[in-house]
């Protein structure tokens, strides 16, 4: 397994803690998140687990700016993310993948990955329309980086294929690659290994570990596969019905009676 390729110069990779404080989200009378707080330490893998409907995806949507929190704040370092538009949050270095694929089916893998470079590139309508040399140079430079990342996640052979033609697991890898292409400081992974073959699972898990170890990116992980969570995570937050019911190291959480109860139902 190769180590993760270091990003080119010019990207801000200083790590910062992601702090979620008392976040509440309500939709039309339904409380999806209720005063949830946790902190993702810089350069760690932080898993958010819980039964279906616990509010994990809502939490991701707040972190990435898709939903607005009704109350509470999210900070990256000292910058407040709450209330910012998704593209501004992306610009600050927060990348995410989606639980259900969000890949344009007809675009090639290379194009999908290049989309991840959007925030790092500048060519606009005029530069690309007039085919200015600056646009061509930029494209080439970033395509080189895209190839490195594709190789890192094992998709270098599929670059020219439409993303929609790949098997499901590989499409999820493309999404992961696209998020990595953003050279993020924080990576939000929403069930990255669901629907994958055993082989793809191993590959993804090692990619995730490698990203943390060699790039120092903080990772927030929503995942149902407890084996993977326990192996990868440095810290775990457990949600149930929109509330944080437990938190700590994987070992602590595993033995927490509240967690066992949430997963298996009430003892009586």
């Amino acid at each position: 397994m190769k180590t993760a390729p270091a990003p080119g110069t010019g990207t801000d990779n200083t790590t910062a803690a992601l702090t979620v404080t008392d976040v509440t989200v309500r939709f039309a009378g339904l409380t999806a998140l209720d005063g949830v707080s946790f902190t993702v330490e810089p350069g760690s893998v932080h898993a958010v687990i819980g039964p279906n409907g616990a509010g994990k995806s809502t939490c991701f949507n707040v972190l990435s700016g898709v939903y607005r929190a009704s109350a509470g704040t999210v900070h990256l370092g000292t910058t407040e993310l709450t209330g910012l538009a998704p593209h501004t949050i992306a610009g600050l270095g927060v990348a995410r993948t989606f639980q259900n694929l969000a890949l344009p089916p007809h675009a090639t893998v290379a194009d999908s990955l290049l989309l991840g470079r959007h925030r790092l590139t500048r060519s606009g309508f005029i530069a690309t329309g007039l085919r200015l040399p600056s646009a061509a140079r930029e494209e080439k430079r970033h395509l080189d980086r895209v190839r490195e990342i594709a190789e890192f996640i094992g998709l270098e052979k599929a670059l020219e294929r439409p993303a929609g033609s790949l098997p499901y697991g590989q499409q999820k890898l493309v999404e992961l690659g696209r998020a990595l292409c953003m050279e993020p400081r924080v990576l939000l992974l929403d069930e990255p290994i669901a629907g994958m073959t055993a082989d793809e699972r191993r590959r993804t898990a090692s990619v995730v570990a490698n990203v943390r170890d060699s790039l120092g990116i903080s990772i927030v992980l929503v995942e149902h596969d407890m084996g993977v969570v326990m192996r990868l995570a440095d810290a775990v937050t457990v949600l149930d019905f929109g509330r944080r019911i437990a938190g700590g190291t994987p070992a602590e959480v595993q033995n927490d009676p509240a967690v066992v109860q949430a997963y298996l139902g009430a003892p009586e």
Binding site: T108, A110, T128, A136, L143, K157
Partner: protein, 383 residues
């Protein structure tokens, strides 16, 4: 890694990069190069052989193609529906007349004109169309898809209202005459110039203006669609939320594409005005907007080639039917009680819109892969 480079090379050629482009000999081996070469020669030679009717028809089609490319960037590539294209065509056409025309009295109407050099007027007209699009951008940026389609209906009615009421600028019901374009002292009007024993009138001369304008418009659009903005636009179309999360400022992009497509419509409007030699308000009604939408669907959504193919199909169809109405079954000359060519062509392209969406996703341009494209499979942006 080496095989990756080989596979990825074609991707680089899409935006001809130094060092990434195909070699000259490679190009010579492609049948497509020859097809393009033959087509270019043919297009350049046509004014020597075709009569005025067909040249005019061709020029309409070229103008339509420019407008359709703009609309296809908005609707096809970004997924934003617009019914307001006719409005921006009108802005381009009328701005040109106002900027280039002299103040005069026509049919009892006092007409205002600034008398600017015509080439400058043409450029300013395109910019004005873009500015008009910019004024609408608070709505164009925030509304998505079909919502925008309905909102832009307003533009048609606003446009018609202004065209009929602002008589001193637009000439009202009668419209206004279009000053012929002049470039470097050469005027594209009906004063005859004989080239190789063929008398060149305005149509023959404008033919080359149209070709150059279409070529430049197409190349620019291709660059945009295959580059960074094109990827962002497609992302907005395919998955708006994901696009935002990837760092694409969705509203700003929608507004930007709307302005760009308005400028394309403006350029098409200028060219149409030059070909018509007279602008009339009725032309820029809702039917025109519908025709443009029909063009991009029939040709193929999201690609430059699709827009061009569709524009030629929709705008040449009535001409062909008119010309051959005698020899075609079912179609008869207008006013004789049978199926008029205009109606017949509307049936045909209305049906074509439905048929293409249901049975030929990708449009006619996808069929037209008679030009073998061996080396480069489809790129994103065509859908």
């Amino acid at each position: 890694m080496s095989d990756t480079t080989a596979e990825a090379a074609p991707l680089v050629t899409t935006a001809p990069a130094p060092g990434g482009a195909e070699s000259f000999t490679d190009r010579l081996r492609r049948p497509r190069t020859y097809a393009v070469l033959i087509a270019s020669v043919l297009l350049l030679a046509l004014p020597f052989y075709l009569d005025r009717f067909w040249l005019q028809a061709g020029l309409f089609a070229m103008a339509a193609a420019i407008g359709a490319i703009g609309l296809n960037m908005l609707t096809g590539a970004t997924g934003q529906l617009s019914m307001g294209h006719a409005f921006f065509l009108a802005v381009g056409a009328y701005s040109y007349c106002i900027l280039a025309g002299e103040s005069s009295t026509e049919n009892g109407h006092a007409l205002t004109g600034l008398g600017l050099p015509t080439w400058l007027a043409a450029i300013l007209a395109v910019l004005l169309a873009g500015a008009a699009g910019g004024v609408f951008s608070p709505i164009a940026g925030r509304l998505r898809g079909a919502y925008l389609g309905i909102a832009t209906l307003a533009l048609i009615f606003i446009g018609q209202h202004i065209l009929f009421n602002a008589g001193s600028l637009t000439g009202g019901y009668n419209g206004r005459a279009v000053p012929p374009l002049s470039l470097f002292g050469f005027t594209f009007d009906d004063t005859e110039v004989v080239v190789a024993a063929v008398p060149f009138g305005s149509s023959e001369k404008l033919w080359y203006v149209g070709l150059v304008a279409l070529l430049l418009a197409a190349l620019f659009a291709r660059g945009v669609l295959r580059g960074r903005p094109g990827r962002a636009m497609n992302a907005i179309r395919d998955h708006r939320i994901a696009a935002g999360v990837m760092g694409v400022p969705v509203a700003r992009y929608r507004a930007g594409v709307f302005v760009l497509s308005s400028m394309y419509a403006g350029l098409a409007g200028v060219l149409l005005a030059l070909v018509f030699q007279r602008t009339v308000p009725e032309y820029f009604g809702m039917i025109l907007s519908l025709e443009y939408l029909a063009m991009i669907v029939i040709g193929g959504l999201g690609s430059v080639a699709g827009a061009v193919v569709g524009a030629f199909f929709v705008s040449l169809l009535p001409q062909v039917l008119t010309h051959y109405s005698d020899s075609l079954p079912l179609v008869s000359a207008p006013g004789t009680g049978g199926l008029a060519p205009g109606e017949a062509s509307r049936y045909l392209y209305g049906a074509a819109v439905v048929a293409v969406v249901l049975f030929l996703p990708g449009g006619l341009a996808r069929l037209g892969i008679a030009l073998p494209r061996v080396t480069r499979p489809k790129k994103s942006g065509e859908k």
